[in-house]
């Protein structure tokens, strides 16, 4: 495989993982603008474990995932007390604080960045992305997935049907943080260098935007969003600025004509159940 193709596929795999990190809380009705903060946590924990304690990169990445999940669980309690825009702002503030703290931690290089010699190559990252997708697929075919979907459709009704909305939201937020941590760890070990400033709020915004672009009604939306976001620049081949102009234009067009995102439940039904005679409702 050529180096170029591999580079694109690595980006695609990491973006897919990040997409599911943002997707889980969104499905439970929370706009998490702190994804980059959790990603940074995973990246720095994993890098620190390999650098300072001589861990192998893969166990370090897994440990970082678990630790990020723990952090997600701890902050979920105060953060989920807020709602709507307040919740989005609380996650944003949390992300900013995490990055600012890392910036002041001299043990991981502070503002000058942190080299990560322990390398993880494309095959492992690809397997991780497939596993994350498989996990999400399984999760959304269990009672948990159905319940979370119910919460995203109508929180009040879900609550009245006896679902523990609070518990579901905490779980979605925590699993989302874990997935973000994993993406961060893989990023750190693949690109061999991390700096706190990279994990800023714009990164979180981009992740959320391409998830919404793909659509949040089904688990395939984030996959499509991440793929379009990663591959579009390669297809366009223009300058980085023009590709973002086009990306922004796409978002605006989509929000105007198809605010539910590209992939929706009815689209999937039409695509995959074409043999069944359509029921006309007139």
């Amino acid at each position: 495989m050529s180096g170029y193709l591999e580079g694109v596929l690595v980006l695609l795999a990491i973006n897919v993982i990040l997409a599911y990190a943002a997707f889980l809380p969104i499905v439970a009705g929370q706009l998490n603008l702190g994804v980059a903060g959790f990603m940074a946590t995973g990246a720095y924990v994993s890098a620190y474990l390999t650098n300072a304690h001589g861990w192998l990169p893969v166990p370090a990445a897994l440990a970082a995932t678990v630790l990020t999940a723990a952090l997600g669980l701890v902050v979920a309690f105060p953060i989920l007390r807020t709602r709507g825009i307040y919740l989005a702002l609380a996650t944003f503030a949390f992300g900013q604080v995490v990055v600012a703290i890392i910036l002041n931690l001299n043990v991981v290089g502070g503002a000058s960045g942190y080299p990560v010699p322990a390398y993880i190559g494309f095959p492992v990252i690809a397997v991780a992305a497939v596993l994350v997708f498989a996990a999400i697929y399984c999760l959304f075919h269990t009672r948990f997935g159905i319940s979370v979907t119910a919460v995203s459709d109508d929180e009040l009704v879900a609550d009245q049907m006896g679902l523990s909305v609070r518990w579901l939201q905490t779980a979605a937020f925590t699993i989302g943080s874990a997935v973000a941590g994993l993406a961060g760890a893989l990023h750190a070990h693949h690109f061999s260098y991390i700096e706190a400033q990279y994990f800023n709020v714009l990164l979180s915004i981009y992740i959320v935007l391409y998830v919404l672009l793909g659509g949040t009604q089904t688990i395939y939306g984030p996959l499509l969003g991440a793929a379009v976001f990663t591959l579009l620049p390669e297809v366009l081949r223009g300058s980085a600025q023009w590709r973002y102009v086009i990306f922004a234009g796409l978002i605006l067009a989509l929000m105007t004509w198809r605010p539910q995102g590209v992939v929706t439940r009815s689209l999937l039904r039409r695509l995959f159940e074409w043999r069944r005679p359509a029921v006309e409702v007139t």
Binding site: I26, L31, P78, R81, T82, R83, G84, I85, Y86, A88, L89, A90, F92, A93, F94, Q96, V97, V99, A100, I101, L103, N104, G110, A111, V201, L202, I205, V208, L209, L212, S239, Q241, W242, Y244, V245, F247, A248, G249, I251, L252, M255, T256, P259, Q260
Partner: protein, 290 residues
Amino acid sequence: MLAQQLVNGLMLGSVYALVAVAFTFTMGVLKFLNFSIPGIFMVAGMVTWAILKGGMSLFLAVPAALALGAVLSYAVERLTYPQMRGGNHFIPLVSSMAFLILFENLVLVAWGSDQQRLALPFQSVSARVGDIVIGVPQLIGLVIAVGVVWLLDLVLKRTRVGRGLRSIAEDAETATILGVSVGRVVPVVFLIGGVFTALAGVLFALNYQQASPFMGEEVALKGISAMVIGGMGNIWGAILGGLVIGVVETAAIHWFGARTVDIWVYGLLLAILFVRPTGLLAPALGKGRA
């Protein structure tokens, strides 16, 4: 020394305050966090730079930047607000984020990513009161900020449009039933917000004699924090919040170093969100629901 730090903090805070007013105004009336504000702030600053660089007068640059701010903000309104009704509540937020990306990258295409220096026709002057040094441009900026907010307050309280705005803030549905033309009043929110944002951008560019395609981000994030700290929807709260953040920032730099600023500012934001989400001052526009 302490007094000097306080003055510096207030001056810095006045820039955040104006941006916070723009945020809190759309938030209070429409319950909409308008993320295009940093983009408009930056465009206003960059246009001021470009016009001055073209050798034209400041008296042309400032009105042009303000007018452009209003026009862009109106364009944002056209492409976000009508989509908001009946849809997912993420939509306007997402569209306005797309506008931020659009504005930033269009400016990058036009002028590149360099930080530009503004050549001002006048020297930077500062006044001395006892031991305290006060930058005159910053002081003028603060006075203008408080002045326009006072004007806005007057408009909200005394005029027909203002009453319409307040009724929409209270309850858009009831306002419509009672004959307030929501479709006509909403653009006013964006026009005023756009002018405020552009004014902040121009003042920032003139005060610090610099402009860059990324100048909006940092200031806007602090502006959002100021809005929350002051109480979402309260324009005087936004001024207070902006000044608080300015003082916290200078104090953090003074005692703990420049790198710790974000810990204190966003830590304060988190604390306020957890402990008192309505902010320091109660929401004056509407009931302040998110």
